[in-house]
Subunit: 497 residues, 2 copies
């Protein structure tokens, strides 16, 4: 029942939830090697199915074959990274404190580790049909944590979702995992039903502000509220200093256009605002680059409609002027658009920050022109939270950039210098999530090795006999995980020792 | 203005918030040694003021001098533990990934650490006038994290709160920290005003379900919602197996009475439900121990009133019978009470779980009698989340206890075997917080070395030049913190190396 690109019925959902609940103890008890094998098996199967899946994805999303081939590699790489994270073992955060009768009151034997929350629901995104979808980062990190996963497929690519689910389900079956380890449901009501099920203990979401806030309300309004990790819209400001303009303005202009038009502007990390000094003189460079940019289809008709409305509001705004538009003509297919850059002053931007500071999904970006360092600092101070904030500096730049970087770091989850925000490396150090309003929890990330922390909670075991302790906490350390012992970080024992 | 035991005015609050905001960058930038010195200075000053503070506390709370002297030691010990945690440096969770041009796409230099959220508000508890109050665990962990703290004093001990604030403020001043590093406000409206201030970025709370839920709504309803870490009521079930009754029933009965009457039953970890097998034969032991227990004053008149109502509801419940009551007579002072134990069947308990499974703050506990292992497993399955769950086992016990412990671990933040839930060791491994409804986030703890994680959020720095990186992420590692470098845990460099 998980392989149909049709709306999942209530009875099917309830059966899937029951299976997920039944799978919970098996996943929780699975040792790192076995859990890593599942993640690696999913990665291998995804790579093997690439040539079947990419055409499905291309047909449903309008994204290019090259882009999608790259995204499959990123997605399988992400699954393999989580396999390494599980095997490395720090994610269990095992801590052992020995009993101490010499202190008053006597200190008991206490051991602590992170335990999986139970079945979780993952709401897939439209814009990454692989990397933030059925076998994307939320699924990979939840399986790494030992949580059964029910994915709510995105309606933008239902056929691909069903086909990817079939690939995953085959791996689950072949490796002998319980049937409830992984499932996909289709349909808006299906997502709400899964999110409302008492057996489901957390939710991940990547998508629009409206959709995310509505689902967050469902999660918080349950008899038992559950964590809802929503990654919503972000404008991702980019600051260019006067010295950087002087040093390499044209290169920055070209990089800007490349970044905001990438994937037809449909990345959550798209630079939505570029802060340039008044008199930057880069109009021609931006115009030329945008002019040469082709038309491209948006992911869904509803994204197309929203982009049209958002672009119109910004274009017709009294304080903005058209800086650049593409020479290409978009086919009249109800999907395709061309890129646009609008320019405006800081005072216009700040006067209407609620509208102009909001994400507009698609290939549009605003050049906001600041007339002084003070005005730049003022606009940075007013910016809402962002997933990523970027700064272009000259090799030798002014002293005030230190304070500027500090101000930006206080408002973002990722600070980039001399780079563009699009492109999120899937590494140990990555952070994808930032202060309100861009994510519902700025304390967590949905990309990178620590993403599995969202699906785990700590439990302390006090005076529990060895045979009843989880393996990660047993004195013999059979899972060979790094641990903190009486306050001291202790590396994992080497195999065979 | 922070040393008056009078309601803080709106103007005073706004000034304090402004000072806290101004202190934010200073605390965030403070190196571990300096931050540890603040925590140690507060610990030393608290210990030095003990003989002035304990009489104030005793007069306001009715708690005994011995108990309060012990609590001061626990509180200063907790401050010193957080000093060690800051100095150890793992709390910064520094992660460095080098750039790698050999992969496609090339991987940038990304470094990640936890940063303080900014000013936080701490709502002090009634029942630990030191350890969960002005200089308690929330304050200590937030200062360790580098966050300025505004404490909302508990109305049960306003004079002690003002006096403790004066002790703390003197240390802050003597050590040259900004005035906004630490402040105390008094008054219910004052707490809501601080919680609503845009500059305040998180809240800690220990107290009643009603109070906690109301404040949680305030935190979630702000234009910028903030994390609200509430530790609310918990029943903390204790299971005794038939084999444990046979092995040492009388000892368990005495331990139970000692635990539920400790501090006049006003611990959040009080065992509110004791699950004994039908025919346990411990009635006389429980009766004798309770009979010998003295009357004791409750913390406040409102706790006295709530205890009276809660006890009446439970006593008058058709399914409960009086098992034991004290021979002492409580003085008619509007504060003092004596302990009570009621007995009931599993079926009665489950039929009215919403009432009988709820915490009743004060010296009352329920003995719920199970007639079979199946019935025991059934009641454990139905239990709401708890801060701590305990099991008394025999030296050689039945095979089913493994599954029982696993079921309990899934419902609690701390699992205790052959011990009592009261008494929370302040150690690296401690967990104080559990699944709904006992805490508003089961992913965090309010006691133990990881409590400071609540006040920190991750930020990634991509391509940021050395001189603009926070010290914990600079290649030279001037803060000497343990770090993960290219996936490998790397201990802190030894001083002088």
């Amino acid at each position: 029942m998980t392989t149909q690109a049709t709306v999942t019925t209530d009875a099917e959902i309830d059966a899937l939830i029951g299976l997920a609940r039944a799978a919970e103890p098996v996943l929780a008890a699975s040792d790192p090697a076995r859990r890593a094998r599942l993640l690696e098996g999913l990665a291998d199967a995804l790579d093997a199915a690439r040539d079947d899946l990419v055409p499905l994805a291309a047909a449903e999303t309008g994204l290019s074959r090259n882009r999608l081939v790259g995204e499959v590699a990123r997605t399988s790489g992400q699954l393999r990274m989580f396999a390494r994270v599980v095997l490395e073992g720090s994610m269990f955060e095992a801590v052992l404190d020995d009993a101490d009768d010499s202190v008053a009151p006597p200190r008991p034997d206490v051991r602590r580790m992170l335990r999986p929350l139970g079945p979780v629901v993952v709401f897939a995104a439209s814009n990454f049909p692989f990397a933030f979808s059925v076998l994307g980062g939320d699924t990979a990190s939840a399986l790494a944590a030992g949580c059964p996963v029910v994915v709510k497929a995105h309606p933008g690519h239902p056929g691909l979702s069903a086909a990817t689910a079939a690939v995953a389900t085959a791996v689950v079956r072949e490796q002998g995992w319980p049937a409830g380890t992984f499932a996909v449901v289709q349909g808006t009501d299906a997502g709400v039903r899964v999110l409302s099920a008492p057996e489901v203990k957390a939710a991940g979401f990547t998508g629009s502000v409206a959709g995310g806030r509505a689902l967050e309300q469902v999660a918080q309004g349950r008899p038992e509220p559950i964590p809802f990790y929503g990654e919503l819209g972000s404008t991702n400001p980019v600051v260019v200093t006067p010295a950087a303009v002087a040093e390499r303005g044209p290169e920055i202009a070209a990089g800007f256009v490349g970044s905001f038009t990438l994937g037809a502007g449909q990345f959550c990390t798209k630079p939505g605002v570029l802060l340039l000094p008044v008199g930057h003189g880069l109009e021609a460079e931006i115009e030329n680059a945008v002019s040469a940019a082709p038309a491209a289809p948006l992911l869904t008709p509803s994204i197309f409609a929203a982009f049209g409305a958002g672009l119109a509001t910004r274009s017709e705004h009294a304080g903005t002027r058209l800086l650049a538009t593409s020479a290409a003509t978009a086919p009249d297919d109800g999907r395709s658009v061309t890129p646009t850059v609008l320019a405006l002053s800081v005072s216009t931007f700040l006067a209407d920050l609620e509208l102009l500071g909001e994400e507009c999904f698609g290939p549009v970006s605003l050049v906001v022109e600041y007339d002084s360092v003070d005005e730049l600092r003022q606009v940075v101070d007013a910016l809402p939270g962002s997933l990523v904030a970027s700064v272009h500096l000259a090799t030798e730049d002014a002293d005030w950039v230190g304070a500027l970087l500090e101000d930006l770091a206080a408002r973002t989850g990722r600070l980039v210098v001399n780079g563009w925000p699009t492109g999120v490396a899937v590494t140990w150090a990555m952070q994808h999530g930032g202060p309100h309003p861009v994510t519902t929890s700025s304390l967590h990330t949905s990309v990178g090795a620590t993403a599995q922390r969202r699906w785990l909670r700590p439990v302390a075991y006090q005076g529990v006999p060895e045979q009843h302790l989880p393996p990660a906490l047993q004195s013999a350390n059979p899972w060979r995980v790094p641990r903190r012992v009486n306050g001291v970080l202790t590396p994992a024992p080497v195999t065979g020792s």
